[in-house]
């Protein structure tokens, strides 16, 4: 920067290392990238921000932050290889919604099961979001299509599901009798049989799907279940 003789420049400009400090402080405190002109405006008369910036960039080479050119301006930026430090992952633990857990349970016990079957068992429509969530969680995936009119898709549980619940196979899903024996469910005086039509009964083409449901047929005390709230 050559300047015409000017009364203001009678004072010699500060030495370059001081100019570098100034640029360092100004860029640090600035809220947006500053151009050389911005810098010159704020530094004492006679300073050469271009040279100071160049010196500063050399100084910060390879450091945790670097001086980057952004358009016409300069700004401090975190070194690209350290960007991972600017992330903090917070893990939030949330309980599955009732709809999701019920849908999941139906798929686990009746797989492969169609959406219509799930809805029959639940008695309410299964929202797209619920299935999507389970699929996104990788606990549920699509199985073979059912060879019935409309060839509906079926849903099955995944390896990740088995991992999460500590099961080797869907057949390991405990039956009611087992749970009751473990003291996890309270007994109630015997009532009538469940008589609940299981989806497996109409799973015409997939015998395997009936198997998990069979667990309940072993249950000689198909008592009414106490309300969920009563359970420990």
């Amino acid at each position: 920067m050559t300047t015409a003789p000017d009364p203001a420049t009678d004072f010699p400009p500060p030495p370059l290392d001081q100019q570098e400090r100034m640029v360092e402080a100004i860029l640090f405190a600035a809220t947006a990238p500053l151009s050389l002109r911005d810098l010159a405006d704020r530094m004492p008369v006679g300073c050469d921000p271009a040279e100071a910036v160049a010196a500063l960039r050399r100084r910060y080479q390879g450091r945790g932050v670097t001086v980057e050119q952004v358009g016409q301006g300069y700004a401090f930026r975190t070194a690209a290889d350290l960007s991972f430090l600017m992330q903090a992952e917070t893990v939030e633990s949330r309980r599955l919604s009732r709809a999701a857990i019920e849908t999941l349970a139906i798929i686990a016990y009746h797989q492969p099961v169609t959406r219509t079957e799930i809805e029959e068992i639940r008695g309410v429509a299964v929202s797209r979001g619920t299935l999507d969530q389970l699929i996104e969680m990788e606990w549920v995936r699509m199985g073979r299509r059912r060879m019935t009119p409309g060839r509906p898709a079926t849903f099955v549980v995944t390896e990740a599901f088995l991992d999460h619940f500590g099961l080797e196979s869907p057949r390991d899903l405990p039956g009611l009798a087992e749970l009751r024996a473990a003291g996890l469910l309270e007994s109630r005086p015997p009532g009538e049989g469940l008589g609940l039509p299981l989806a497996s009964e109409d799973a015409d083409d997939d015998i395997a799907s009936v198997a998990p449901g069979d667990l309940f047929e072993d249950d000689h005390d198909p008592a009414a279940w106490p309300a969920e709230e009563d359970q420990p």
Partner: protein
């Protein structure tokens, strides 16, 4: 409580603190004096009596620890007198301080009374001097503090900080039990019926009362409770429990009415009844 900020105010605004022998102004006099005191006195005030004392002390131009408390007391009292002469009402604090300083002054002037209890006048004066010095020191400290290189004035933080990207990962919680319960809930949903107490095995107290009323007349001597249970209610444990409870409750009611007596030899021993006759009541 009135604000403790320094203030001199028109006399018609009586101090909130009691103990000052100012006449309670009636409405008429307030109106009259308000008219007189159209001038609201606004004095560049002091932050309370201690502040005023500190300012006065400075006029002595000596180290605060060497200050003459006697002189200071006189200066203060003169100030208060002047304010009163100007019909400026000082806040109660100022008057209380004036009274205290007048007391201190008299104690300082009199020869010490060896019988007097409590701190000596010298101790009181020294304490006042200490308080003035401490307040002065804190004011200087405050000034030094405010003269420091303050953040946002002399020193600056990063103007464009990098936001820490908080990624939120949701971990869904579901246990096998949750799964089981959900499934059980579905399987048993159709079984659901509104809750109704199954009365088949319940012997009500009304039934027991009827039965007991009828039978007690035959119990001239102590008769065990079990004898009163209805037929078919003593074998099944649930039915027996219900009938026993109802009969016992009914017997309490009849005992209250004075129609039978209850006896139990000891805790958990059998309970027996007999009829109570009118002649027993005497």
């Amino acid at each position: 409580m009135p604000a403790k900020v320094p203030y001199l105010r028109p006399v018609d605004d009586p101090p909130a603190q009691a103990g000052l022998d100012l006449p309670a102004p009636d409405a008429a006099s307030i109106a009259r004096r308000r008219a007189e005191e159209a001038l609201i006195v606004d004095v560049d005030g002091y932050e309370g009596p201690l502040d005023l004392l500190l300012t006065l002390a400075r006029t002595q131009k000596v180290d605060l620890m060497k200050i003459s408390v006697l002189d200071l007391a006189e200066q203060y009292l003169a100030f208060v007198e002047e304010a009163r002469a100007l019909r400026i009402e000082l806040a109660a604090d100022y008057l209380v301080m004036a009274a205290w300083l007048a007391f201190l002054k008299s104690r300082l002037l009199l020869p010490p009374d060896p019988q007097a209890e409590g701190p000596s006048a010298e101790d009181m004066a020294a304490h006042l001097a200490f308080q003035l010095e401490r307040l002065d020191a804190m004011r200087q400290a405050a000034a030094q503090l405010m003269a420091r290189d303050r953040l946002g004035i002399s020193r600056f933080a990063r103007g464009a900080p990098d936001a820490v990207i908080r990624t939120r990962r949701t971990e869904w919680q579901a246990s096998l039990i949750d799964l089981m319960r959900a499934y059980a809930r579905l399987k048993t949903r159709d079984e659901f019926r509104p809750f109704a107490f199954d009365r088949k095995d319940v012997f009500t107290m009304e039934q027991a009362l009827d039965r007991l009323r009828g039978l007690i007349g035959f119990a001239g001597d102590w008769t065990d409770l079990s004898v009163f249970l209805p037929d078919g209610w003593s074998d099944d444990p649930a039915r027996r429990r219900s009938a026993t409870a109802a009969t016992f409750a009914a017997s309490l009611e009849l005992a209250r009415q004075g129609r039978l007596e209850i006896r139990q030899a000891e805790t958990f021993a059998p309970i027996s009844y007999r009829q109570r006759h009118d002649d027993d009541r005497a």
